[in-house]
């Protein structure tokens, strides 16, 4: 469906002394799930937010399907790209269904079509439409709220999905479940996805490819396996070997095996 290309992307916030993102170039292929990994303040969220133009570029270019995002209408662009944030940001005055229906209604879908889509999405994220449709966000658990956040982002069939530490605020068990569902949903919808996290394990669990960032720059872009076997810098090596790397090796082997079975 869509590819996202970063070409010499540079961002500097007003009044800052250095670039928040410095000369970043890589490509996220159609249907690929690319994880931006790095410590807080490394510029990964900033880079993500250049795609839907919530952050302006100082230099360089971001393209979706070859189209320069700066040449597109910002509002139209944002309606065609799903966006999920850690704080979820559900609208407290709307029901679950109304939250999920925001972008479809902005895009002028009919009432019937929207209602059908909402039910379909609630089922997809594992929430019974009859029980959840008319609930207020205040009556959802953290995990349920973020599921609704994901449903809202993919409601109008976006051509790309931007996720900014979406599972950072939920507990470990729920996080694992959400990660599993995300992999399933992204594979099912074949939606090109950029996913920001500082959590190594999460990155390794989800990513087709990982972009390792540090102080606004890219250290390495590689498949998870490759990061292990051929870390490009000292920093990447320390990063992948920090913590439970035995577990990660097993995990990747399992994943590779599953991929082989699927193909």
């Amino acid at each position: 469906m869509s590819s996202i290309t970063f070409d010499g992307v540079t961002v500097r916030y007003p009044g800052a002394e250095s670039d928040a993102v410095e000369n970043v170039s890589f490509e996220c292929d159609d249907g690929e799930l690319v994880v931006l990994l790095g410590p807080s303040g490394c510029g990964k969220s900033t880079l993500l937010r250049t795609v839907n133009r919530l952050v302006p570029l100082a230099a360089g270019r971001v393209r979706i399907d070859g189209n320069d995002v700066n040449a597109l209408d910002a509002v139209e662009l944002r309606r065609s790209v799903g966006y999920v944030i850690q704080a979820v940001g559900l609208f407290a005055h709307m029901t679950v269904a109304q939250n999920v229906a925001v972008v479809p209604s902005l895009r002028g879908w009919s009432r019937d079509e929207t209602a059908r889509r909402v039910d379909e999405l609630l089922r997809m994220i594992g929430l019974d439409p009859a029980a959840y449709r008319d609930r207020r966000p205040s009556r959802l658990s953290g995990g349920e709220a973020q599921r609704v956040g994901v449903a809202r982002a993919i409601a109008a069939r976006p051509r790309a999905l931007l996720m900014d530490e979406p599972f950072g605020a939920v507990d470990a068990i729920v996080r694992t479940a959400l990660q599993r569902e995300l992999v399933r949903i992204v594979a099912e919808l074949h939606t090109t996805t950029l996913f920001v996290t500082h959590d190594m394990d999460e990155a390794f669990r989800l990513a087709d490819r990982i972009v390792v960032m540090r102080s606004g720059r890219v250290e390495q872009v590689a498949r998870p396996q490759e990061l292990f076997e051929r870390p490009a810098t000292e920093y990447v090596r320390d990063l992948v070997h920090a913590g439970d790397d035995v577990y990660r090796r097993y995990f990747m082997r399992g994943r590779a095996l599953l991929r082989g079975l699927a193909e």
Binding site: L54, R78, S80, V88, G89, F91, A92, H93, R136
Partner: protein, 198 residues
């Protein structure tokens, strides 16, 4: 008794008109304070000063410009009602969660859509509490309008004082209190319907 009802009507007209005027001025000022960091300080300082002015002083200060009667009383009462409205609207808008605004922008709402569909409904409950304060204060203060010949229940109270009629004095004061409480309860109920706290 008929006279009392006429005074009640007059009292409510005074307070209602003042409140409407205060909303007309206070809502935009509150939005301005919340949306413009540069103007917030000035607007809120002015509102703060407005809150500390004694009601009677405001009535008297306006006397040289607006004379006596309903009009100056309404203006003076409106001036008293504006500060709580400005302060609560500013507070309400700035209390809208940043995450909701970020999500709204990221989903492709225009600034106007963001304001109408996200900011206003989420700011309504807190703004409504400011309106309640303004309404009770206005109804209570409208009693003073009698001193510039604007009528209202203040007339009855003053008459009670002058004729040493304690029953009349207390009856009129009780009616003012009942009106203020009634307005507070009614607006509270309306607020729960229009803007349910989530």
């Amino acid at each position: 008794m008929a006279e009392l009802w006429a005074h009640v009507a007059q009292h409510l007209t005074l307070a209602g008109a003042a409140l409407a005027l205060a909303l007309l001025a206070g809502l935009p000022l509150g939005v301005l304070a919340a949306e413009s960091a540069g103007l917030r300080g000035g607007v809120l300082a002015l509102a703060g000063v407005g809150r500390t002015l004694p009601s009677l002083a405001v009535l008297m200060l306006l006397l040289p410009w607006l004379g006596v009667g309903m009009a100056p009383a309404i203006v003076a009462l409106a001036l008293l009602a504006i500060p709580p409205i400005v302060i609560s609207v500013d507070l309400a808008i700035r209390g809208v969660p940043a995450a909701a605004l970020d999500a709204a922008a990221g989903m492709g709402m225009t600034p106007l859509q963001r304001f109408a569909r996200v900011v206003v409904p989420l700011a309504l409950p807190v703004s409504f509490s400011g309106l309640r304060t303004a309404a009770t204060e206005t109804i209570a203060s409208a009693t003073l309008a009698t001193f510039i010949g604007a009528g209202g229940l203040g007339d009855e109270i003053v008459r009670g004082l002058q004729t040493d009629d304690a029953a009349l004095l207390f009856a009129a004061a009780a009616v003012v209190a009942a009106l203020a409480l009634g307005a507070d309860l009614a607006l509270g109920a309306a607020g729960r319907i229009v803007a349910p706290r989530t």
